[in-house]
């Protein structure tokens, strides 16, 4: 082989490598025609989880990239807490949505040093009264459209966020409260969906071993108050023929007859899982068991933003009615505590004038009647194995018992006689 042919091969390899670098994964992702994916790029999983829950509330599909996995901006929509990612995105002609306290002043924005102060927030139709915040950074100068207003205790004001030409900035947000709602709404806007959003009441994490009578009682209570609700059940994969499961299903049938919408919690991968069965198979088994028990469950692709009633009470609205926030919100209805506590909780939900929607209406207008079913009480927990030759052995057993008893009797007689002979022979 000549030197020139060597060079030819080298050039070819370099060309292939260059082509691979020039076609990032994002280009491939858009090619399939689906809606643009939002990429959430953060340093920690916890941050990603929080931002992910905001995106879900706006019904946005997203993918998470942690800093350690990040190479270059993977798509056209990037929500990040990392200045380096924002920089790369801008250089690549992408407009990033920058959230969190890590960003500092840029050409279009000036951002203050961290402050410890109490702040009030107003956003759209809603406002949240003053609360003390550590290390808040404020937008002190912006060149763009702003949304929301932060008011400090000394009366100074700053925009909650700004939409500049090159990037969006929201240097402060919290996991809960109005700032969380605001970021969720803004993520929706960033992704180009302007949803109206709905509010729900949810009874979450219902296990077969939860207090099922409290569940039924709560369902009754909410039904009488005209409050539809979501009942999110935890999937179980084994012992689906046990009476405990029958009782569980019975309670769920009762719940669905009381305007409760049954949805299934996502599969939770348990650590030290020794079972090799794929998650999808296990989930399918659970769903099949629910089908058999006439429990009607509904899809739950996006989890609404979880805001408890106490937080909702701290957010005021222009009208007496809380109104619609632009994203989906769910407020949990806890089963623990006694009936009086649950009544008080219902009272508070009513008092805040929330417009609670029936989640089931997204899929059906059917109503479900409840019919009690008998639970198998004398259930055989340890299944008796199929046995072969049972009759042969049963008969053989009887015959042999008789034979052995006869043999033992014969030996008994011989033993008595032998003992006498022994005494005569050896003790004379």
């Amino acid at each position: 082989m000549t030197i020139s042919s060597h060079r030819c091969i080298l050039v070819f390899i370099v060309c292939i490598l260059a082509a691979l670098a020039l076609f990032p994964a994002a280009a491939l992702a858009t090619a399939d025609g689906a809606r643009e994916m939002l990429y959430i790029i953060t340093r920690t999983e916890k941050e990603a989880e929080t931002l992910g829950s905001f995106a879900e509330a706006a019904r946005i599909d997203y993918e998470v990239l942690l800093e350690e996995e990040y190479v270059s901006p993977p798509g056209e929509m990037v929500l990040t807490t990392l200045p380096r990612v924002a920089e790369d995105a801008k250089n690549a002609g992408i407009k990033p949505f920058c959230v969190g306290a890590e960003f500092s002043s840029e050409e279009d924005v000036l951002i203050s040093e961290p402050l410890d102060t109490s702040v009030s927030l107003s956003f759209g139709e809603h406002s949240q009264t003053a609360a003390f915040v550590n290390g808040i950074r404020l937008l002190t100068y912006v060149n763009g459209t702003t949304e929301g207003t932060i008011t400090l205790s000394d009366g100074r004001q700053a925009p909650f966020m700004v939409k500049c030409d090159g990037a969006w900035y929201a240097p402060w947000y919290e996991k809960n409260g109005l700032s969380a709602i605001a970021i969720s709404v803004l993520i929706g806007q960033y992704c180009g969906t302007e949803g109206t959003g709905e509010m729900f009441v949810i009874i979450d994490e219902i296990y077969p071993f939860s207090d099922l009578s409290a569940l039924k009682n709560t369902a009754d209570m909410l039904y009488s108050a005209g409050v539809p609700f979501i009942a999110r059940v935890m999937p179980v994969y084994n012992n689906l023929d046990y009476p405990a499961f029958e009782r569980y299903a019975d309670a769920l049938r009762y719940v669905q007859s009381r305007n409760g919408t049954i949805v299934i919690h996502d599969f939770i991968e348990v650590l030290h899982e020794w079972e090799r069965e794929p998650a999808a198979d296990r989930m399918a088994r659970f769903m099949e068991a629910l089908d058999e028990q006439d429990v009607h469950y509904f899809p739950f692709p996006y989890s609404p933003l979880n805001i408890d009633i106490g937080t909702l009470e701290g957010i005021s609205s222009k009208e007496k009615n809380f109104g619609l926030a632009g994203i989906d919100i769910m407020t949990p209805f806890l089963l623990d505590g006694d009936e009086a506590e649950r009544e008080e909780l219902l009272e508070r939900i009513n008092a805040r004038w929330l417009t609670i929607r029936d989640y089931r209406l997204r899929y059906t207008t059917d109503k479900y009647a409840y019919e009690s079913r008998e639970v198998t009480e004398n259930f055989q927990y340890i299944k008796e194995e199929e046995r072969s030759f049972t009759r042969f052995f049963a008969a053989g057993n009887e015959v042999l018992v008789v034979v052995v008893v006869v043999a033992l009797l014969v030996f008994g007689v011989l033993m008595v006689a032998g003992y006498r002979l022994y005494r005569r022979k050896f003790y004379r």
Binding site: E385, S388, F389, M415, G418, K425
Partner: protein
Amino acid sequence: MSVVDGLALGSLICIWTLLLVNVSLTVAGYIYYWKTERRPVPELKDEDAPMVSILVPAHNEAVVIAKTMDALLGFDYPADRYEVIVVNDNSTDRSAEILADIQKNNPGRIIKVINTDAQTGGKGKSNALNIAFAQAVGDFLVIYDADNTPERPALRYLVAEITNNRRLGAVIGKFRTRNRNASILTRFINIETLAFQWMAQAGRWQLFRLCTIPGTNFIVRRELIEKMGGWDVQAIAEDTEISFRIYMEGYVIKFQPKAVTWEQEPQTLPVWFRQRTRWVKGNIYVIFKNIPLLFKRNVKRIKFDILYFLSIYTLLLASLISSDIIFIGNAMGLIHPTLAGFSTLLWLMAILLFVVSTFITLTTEQGEMSWSNLFLVVLMYFSYSLLWIIVAAYGFIMYLVDILFKRETKWYKTERFS
């Protein structure tokens, strides 16, 4: 039905069948015990006493030979009517010296000592017996192992029985364990030998007029050995071999439990293991060699013996091993037999039956009917009996290996304890 189920079913049938056969034999043996207690041994006057040759093969027996000779020379039998022929077979210890001394100290007695070398001897017990037989002048041959201490009347009883009945080709006596208190192993062996003799020897005699020569403490007609051309040097279990040949000549072998000898049993497990492996291999050799007899007409009696030993060494062994494997495999979750089983009560009763049937044979001997022996019998079920399975399996495999590689059968001499 799966293969595992088939195996389990076959095993159960075999185990129960043989258990019941053995129980029947024990009952029959006990009945025979009663009979012998009532009936005296036929009388033998000194003047009618025939000439008897006592053959003693001995290989490195210096530790025990003097005591054995004492007992042999002390028989209640006319001294001029029997000779003692010791084949000191290629010994490297002081046996020759000791035997020479004994000869010198008993000038009036007929003692023949044949010292062989590596050329003429060292080829096993059968070969040694053939050498002794060549020198024997008696009408009857009596064989004792070199570690035996027969009781004084033993010889008279054996001769009295055989001369009393023309149909008897041989008469065997009973052997007891001399060193039974030496270790827990010898205590087990003591129980085992008693149970075995009352079940297999007395039981078979009572039911089928069948016995197997035990290798020591028996008398046989000279003409029979002559007719057979001596002992088969190939057979390492020469006793079973001789027994079959006697039956084929139309004679029977009788068990006379009053003719007693005391012998030394292995005190340690390795010695026991080697001895028993030799027995197993030897018995398997004889059984397989004689399987064609099952299809002959005129040897009805031996058929039971061949079938009995065949089923013990093949069927029972295979059954016990496979049922154990199935049990362990099932416990470990590796195999799942679906076969129904017998009730736990029945199994417990079966164990009780084993204990009772073994213990009852101990009531025949002074000092053996004790609580400690009862406890030992129970213990045996869970220990000694399991060792037997291992020995039998090992012996069987060794037998097959010998055949496969055409290895020569080797006579392992049981080690003696001083």
